[in-house]
Structure formats: C-alpha cells, structure tokens
C-alpha cells in the first residue's frame, strides 16, 4: 500500500511535467498546425542555457534561470516561429514536420559538441530531501514538481478562460478565419502561443532536469511522451493534454515496477496505438477532421 502511494506520487509528479510539455505541443497544433518534433529538445535547450550561464558567465542559479527563460522565449518562441514555422506553413504539414526533425538534430548536436555529451547535474530549485508519510517515502522534489506544475496548469487555464487575451487566443485556435473577422489580431495571438509554449517547456526543463539529469538526449523520450500525452488526451484540447500527461506518467511508473523495465517505454506507445485506432479523437477530444 505504501509502495503504491509512493509510485502514485512520483507518477503524478512526472505526469504533471509531461502535461506541461504536452500542453505546449497541443497549443502549437491548435493555433498553427505545427507538429513540433523538436518539442523534447525544446525542454533540453533551456536546461543547457542555464548550465552554460552558470559555468561560463558565473551566474548564480536564479539569474541563470531568468536568462534561460528569456533565451527560450526568444529562441524557441519568437525565432522558431519567424524563421521556421512562418515560411513553412504554406507548404502544408509534412515539410514542417521534416524541418522540426532537422531542428531536433541540430539542437542535440550543438549541445553535444559545444557543451558536453555527458549527463549533467542540474541544481534543484529548492533543495529538499524525503518526507516519510505513513510508511511511504515521498521525495520533496516530486512534491514540488507536482505543486509547481499543477499551479502552472491552473494559472494557464485561468488565463485562457478568464482574460481577454486568453479568450482571443482560444478563438484563434478554434477558428482562425472567424477570429480574424471578429477583429482579433490573429498573428499576434499565434505569436503569444509560441511564447507560451516556450515558457512551458522552460518550466518543464527546470522541474524535470533536477530529477533525470540534463543530457543532450533527454528530449528524445520527452518528445515522444508529449505526443503520446497529447494524443491520449485529445489533440485539440488543453484539458486532454493534462489528463494524457498524468495517464502516461502513472502508466510509465507502474509498468516499470509491475510489468518489466525492459519494455517500460513500450507501454505508453501501446496505449497510443490503441487510442489512435479505437478513439482517434482522444479521450476528451472532439471529433473533427482526423482522417483527411
């Protein structure tokens, strides 16, 4: 029972960070039909910006984190949209997919060649140990991750549902043309989405790398998980991405213990295939043009 609780908490903690990455992924898809195959690398990049700032520029942790956030907003938000997505959108979905595959290779190789190919320790935001709770041992880092990620998701939902900008962004995501007719600056809203995605992946990086260490290849698994979470939940729903993130996080932790560590990565994928085949719109998604 205690073991179960422990697994559940760590599953929820990983799931919450997955959800952050998956939300960004679905937001990009909704507003600009961008399937970002580099989403995992987008999580890796801010972590290494922080590490580089601390190592080469002698920044202390918090200024380095701020610099990391700024750089990811600039690189992964603004420049990614302007240099890659904007010119490619008119060609359709596939060339953009290929280009983001290229981008993911680029990000990995640059980090590997110019920083390090080895796993790097990443400082935790708040140092903590473990808390015993009714026989279970809960890691403080897990609890912090869970709290911060849930808080971020809640804030995001509030922003999207209650503020005027958020509602404009939703309108843009739902129907670009009608949004434009209603006088919404669609381009600006799309840019906001990209910035939001950059902020989300940055937060995910700061939460996940203290646990899993920062490596240049950390994004490979994460990107896959983000896709899985987005599809499990429903591609066109922010709520879906959240649920998907939690399901995948918990499923992964439980299979590692109860089924087999060798096939741990296979379980979310089997889930993914089953969902795609039997419920292509996802658990919470609306059925819309799935097959054309």
């Amino acid at each position: 029972m205690a073991g179960l609780l422990q697994l559940l908490v760590s599953g929820l903690a990983t799931g919450a960070t997955y959800a952050l990455v998956a939300i960004g992924f679905t937001l990009l898809w909704q507003t600009s039909q961008t399937i970002n195959f580099a989403q995992g690398e987008f999580v890796m990049v801010p972590a290494f910006i922080v590490l580089a700032a601390m190592r080469f520029l002698d920044f202390s942790l918090w200024p380095a984190l701020a610099l990391g956030l700024f750089c990811s907003l600039l690189l992964l938000g603004f420049l990614f949209k302007r240099l890659l997505v904007d010119p490619l959108l008119k060609h359709g979905v596939l060339p953009l997919v290929i280009a983001t595959i290229g981008l993911s290779i680029l990000a990995k190789e640059v980090v590997k060649n110019y920083y390090s190919g080895e796993a790097q320790r990443f400082p935790a935001l708040i140092s903590g140990d473990t808390i015993p709770l009714g026989g279970a041992v809960l890691s403080v880092q897990d609890l912090i991750n869970l709290t911060v990620a849930v808080a971020a998701v809640a804030l995001l939902q509030l922003f999207l549902a209650r503020t005027e900008t958020g509602r404009r962004m939703q309108a843009t995501a739902q129907n670009r043309t009608v949004a434009a007719i209603l006088g919404i600056d669609v381009e600006r809203m799309i840019l906001y989405t990209f910035l939001l995605n950059a902020a989300l992946v940055c937060l995910a990086a700061y939460l996940i790398t203290p646990v899993y260490l920062a490596t240049y290849s950390i994004g490979e698994g994460l990107g896959l998980v983000a896709f899985t979470a987005a599809i499990v939940g429903g591609f066109n729903q922010v709520r879906g991405a959240i649920v998907g993130g939690f399901i995948v996080g918990i499923a992964e932790n439980f299979t590692a213990v109860y089924v087999s560590t060798q096939y741990r990565t296979a379980v979310p994928l089997l889930l993914l295939v089953a969902i795609i085949l039997f419920r292509p719109q996802g658990l919470l998604g609306r059925a819309e043009e799935r097959t054309t």
Partner: protein, 325 residues
Amino acid sequence: MTGLRLWGYVAAAGVLVALIVLPQSLKPYGIALLSRWAVMAIAAVGLNLTLGYAGQISLAQAAFLGIGAYTTAILTTNGYPFWSALLLAGGLGFGVGWLLGYPALRVQHHYLAFVTLAFMTMAYLVFRNEAWLTGGVFGINRIPRPSFFGWSTAKPLTYYYVCLGALMIVLAGAWWMIRSPWGRAFVALRENPRRAMSLGVDIRSYTLLAFAFGAALGCIAGVFFAPLVEFVDPSSFTLADSLGLLLMVVVGGSGYFFGPLLGAMVAVLLPEWLRMTQGLYLICYAVLVMVLMVFCPSGIFGLFDKAVRPFNRSAPLAIGKEARR
C-alpha cells in the same frame, strides 16, 4: 521536353558507368561507403514508394531494414542459403508492412506518423530485449557474404557489385511499377483519395499495398545490409535511423524517381566530405534540411526541376501536393 528527357537518360547512363568503373580505383573504405549507399538507396526507394508516390508517411523504415538484416543474420549463420533469407525477408516485410498499413486506413498524416513511430520503437525493443533470437545488445557476429553458383562475393569490390546489381533490379522494378496502373493508383491516392475512390480505385487495398511494397524493399535492403557490415546489433535500427531514411527521401526529393538515390548519396557521403569538421556534419546536415524545407520542400531534385523548366509548373512540388509522372 523530349530533349530534356534524352539528357536525363544520358546523365543516368553516365552515372551508372561511373558507378561501375569508379570503384575499381577506390580504396576498400570508399567501396564500403558506396556499398552502404547502394543498400540505403534500396530502402529509400521503398520509402519513396510509400511516402513520395502514395503519400503515406512512415517513420518505421529502419525497423524493416532491421527485420531484413536480422532475418539474414539468423538464417545465414545457421547455414541456410542467402536466397532463402531474401525470400523470407521480402515476404515478411510485405506481410508486416501490409498489417502496418491498417492504421493508415483509419488515420492520416501525423497520427499515422505516430503509429509507425510506435512500431519502430517496439521493433527496436524486440531487437534489443529478445536475446534468444537476436543476440540482444551484443548482436549477431560473423555474417557470411553469399556466394552465387560457387562465385564468392567475400571481397568488398565483388560485394559492392552485388549491392549495385540489387539496387538496379529494385530500380527497374520500381520504374515498372510506377508506370503500371498500380503506380498511377498510388499517385491518385496521394493527390485526392476521395476522387480516386469515386473513379473506382480501391483505395483500401492500394494504401495497404503502398505500405507493403515500401516495407518489403526496406527488408530487402536489410538482407544486403547484414552481409555488408558482417555484424548486426540493435543500434543500427533506431528511430534516428528511420528519421535518417525519411530525410534521405525528402532531401533528395520525395516523389521523384531518382530523388532517394541522391538523398542517400548526400546522407552517406556528406559525413565523409565534412570529416575535417569532426562531429559537425550532423549540424550541417540539420541546417541543410531546414534551409531546404524553407526554400524548396520538394528537395534537391525539385530545386533542379525548377531551375531546368521554370515555366513548366507554376507551383513548387510540395511533398504530397502535386502529381509526378
């Protein structure tokens, strides 16, 4: 138009002669590279059938390369002849590819990409974990090169000609297929599935066939890959390798007959040209891919096409956008 076509044949013949004559004066390393190119080109031609002609994205081509390579490794190290591996792997690829096509009947584009990506990851896990069959992470060693009617192909140069010959046979088959009603049905499927259906094309069978043929060619490439490197292990058949094959097709020009050959050439030889830059070749390659996508999503062949006949086609050939004959 006819003049251009004539020049095209002349160029193709010239390249073929170069491919036959040039390796005579190459060092073993160069021959190994060219053999690798020939093998990868077979797999890329297969993927081009699925992606370029039928318009179905697949991120699993390296899995089929792996299935072919492991089939060959297991059979030939146990004393079975090479041709049995070729037959079995081709059949296996066709069957598994056919099954992998079923999701494509329900979902398209990125969803299909994820299904094939999941299949790729599963295949890799099986290669790595089922040690009783595949030797696990250590792989399978000492794969013999085949001999045909007592004629041994153990020498690198001889084996290169075997790979080149295989590539030529595959190309001839693909050439015939693309011009056959099947190939036209593939293109119809890519351009407008509904219209194809209304014209009486059985899009269900053709979607499955597109996957099956692409996969079978992937497996056949694997059959020639295993004796070439004489050693197979799971690390050659990862998702990254599948993406690499996809990039080959797209960089060369997907939907162009010779596109994958050029793409494979770039992917295999670029690392050697950029050897002095150490690990930077992947960076250069990634930048090349992105720049190419931004300026000409139809690949190098598309770029060439645009330069040669600028007024012939108004819109650039985006992937899966316009028919090619």
